[in-house]
Amino acid sequence: MSNVILQVEDLHTSFFTRAGEVKAVDGISFYVREGETFGLVGESACGKTVTGLSILRLLPEPAGIIVGGKIILEGKNLLELSKKEMREIRGEKISMILQDPMTSLNPVYTVGDQIGESVRQHQHLPDDMVETEVVSALRLLGIPAPESRLHDYPFQMSGGMRQRVVGSIAMSCRPRLLIADEPTTALDATIQAQYLALFRDIQKQTDVAIIFITHDFGVVASICHRVAVMYAGKIMETASTSTIFKTPKHPYTSALIHSVPRLDRKDDRLYSIEGQPPSLLNLPPGCRFAPRCPDVQDVCHKQQPPEVEIGEGHTVSCWKVK
């Protein structure tokens, strides 16, 4: 078993707004191993993106604040680092890919500039060496004719190609951990399949640990080794991908998977979870999913269930599971 790169313990992140404290992430814990893709999956406003931003400590100023917990990377708690130390880690030890390739690249600088910038920032190489690094980063992401493409501007490239450039920027300093926030949501299905296959290879070559944030279960199935299902700021269940799909224990996980339309069979009616996700301003006291849960008991409304480990790496937070 490869060693653990990142350990998140009881992370609490809130946004302090005029309307009150929005508990975006309310106590989550998980770990990611070297060479492993860990999925953070859930519907909108479940806190998956906020978790990613908290790890990099890039929450929007001044509202977003990490109010509790630890984030340990190779033995160091990132929350105790100075701003300068944290900046050295961003881009070198941990990097991130954002969702929309159309807006992630600066329109007025060439692709080569934008990749070379992070290489120069972290590796302090002479200029000729920087160019070879840039070309190798572009080649790693399978971009054809990298020597000429690095002089192009972002608007001269298709969405898929730009997302590869963003990938090159992220991998240019061979980080230990890559956070990918919905990188393929804006891409077409066939281009998405290409992108996911590409990252499976990159992971084999570089052994980089990946936190893959998505709302699409198809993506989870094709690239993640282990998955955490999030709902309203908490992790409901964490398990290997096949366990999540085949033998989920938490009612929300099974309901969610059940309501995804399948391509390999014809359903005449889809299972749908009734009601609406809770507002993060006034969360229900007990289990967050209680108001919509088919197997709800009255204890669920009163108290939050503890996180119980029911198998190797399989944890669930639900009163139904002992």
Partner: protein, 309 residues
């Protein structure tokens, strides 16, 4: 590139505006103070005298603004040893009471601004919406007009009209409005172009709604926010323009007590009778500042996206 499966989380992110406590108090101030100042000045302008009620001699101002009394000319404000409480803010070189002239000046400045705002916003909105939604000739015509209006600062136009039609209240209003609607048209056109691309306009066309009804029922209600914001910001600008015209002698004809005239009266007496120009200057600044503060506050609360106004 059509967006596939756009992740709803990014689209429905909760509005997070974490203003610190001090900033929040500042925001309240930028609302309350200007509103108080503006309402005082509006009341003063209305009740300067009750002529409009048929009682010409009942007035708020202590004296008739144009009554000349050479005996007490160039009297400093009351706190000065030569000053007296009869004329709280002193008198000008013709002995006219500065305070009364300020009060009546408020009526002139506000009425000019209000009238110009109504005219220019109406023309600007109509042309802006038609130019933005219908495009084609109206838009080309509009763009050429805005080019032309760049070369014609209001002051030049005003001078020409004042000289030809003789300086008067209507000349000033006409001069500023002649090209004053261009900024409204430009902004409303931009907003209309943005709204025209939105789905609900396409939806209205699908059910066969006429272009006129789309402009009136869908486009217009959605541009009221930016319109109100420009109007409040214009109050200050127009008062300065009116004052500048009077200062150049092409605005409201003396002896009418427009603030511009008053500053002009005291122009070369600055060292001996400083108060003649200073008090109208402060009055102008107060009104303009309140207008701008209130405009800023409105913009931030109504639609922060319109920051560039």
């Amino acid at each position: 590139m059509q967006e596939k499966d756009s992740d709803p989380e990014t689209a429905a992110k909760p509005v997070i505006s974490g203003l610190s406590r001090r900033a929040r108090i500042m925001r309240k101030l930028t609302f309350i103070v200007p509103v108080i100042i503006l309402s005082i000045i509006i009341l003063v302008a209305i009740f300067a005298d009750l002529a409009w009620l048929g009682l010409p001699d009942v007035r708020l101002a202590p004296y008739d603004p144009e009554k000349i009394s050479m005996r007490d000319r160039l009297m400093p404000p009351f706190w000065d040893e030569e000053g007296s409480t009869d004329h709280l803010l002193g008198t000008d070189k013709m002995g006219r009471d500065i305070l009364s002239r300020l009060i009546f000046g408020a009526r002139i400045s506000l009425s000019v601004s209000l009238l110009v705002i109504l005219i220019t916003s109406f023309i600007g909105t109509v042309l802006g919406i038609m130019g933005g939604y219908l495009g084609g000739r109206t838009e080309a015509f509009l763009m050429r007009i805005t080019d032309i209006s760049l070369a014609f600062p209001p002051i030049l136009v005003a001078m020409l009209l004042a000289v030809s039609m003789g300086p008067s209240f209507t000349t000033v209003v006409l001069a500023i409005s002649l090209l004053g609607w261009a900024p409204y048209a430009r902004l409303i056109r931009g907003e209309t172009l943005r709204l025209r691309e939105m789905d609900f306009v396409a939806q209205a066309r699908v059910i066969g709604t006429s272009p006129f009804r789309i402009m009136a029922r869908h486009i217009f209600p959605n541009i009221i926010n930016p319109l109100i914001i420009i109007m409040t910001l214009q109050i200050g600008l127009l008062i300065i323009t009116e004052a500048s015209l009077s200062f150049l002698g092409v605005g409201i004809p003396p002896p009418a007590p427009s603030w511009g005239n008053m500053v002009n009266d005291g122009r070369n007496l600055v060292d001996t009778a400083w108060w003649i120009s200073t008090f109208p200057g402060i009055a102008i600044a107060l009104v303009v500042m309140s207008g701008n503060f209130f405009g800023d506050w409105l913009r931030d609360t109504m639609d922060p996206r319109l920051r560039q106004l």
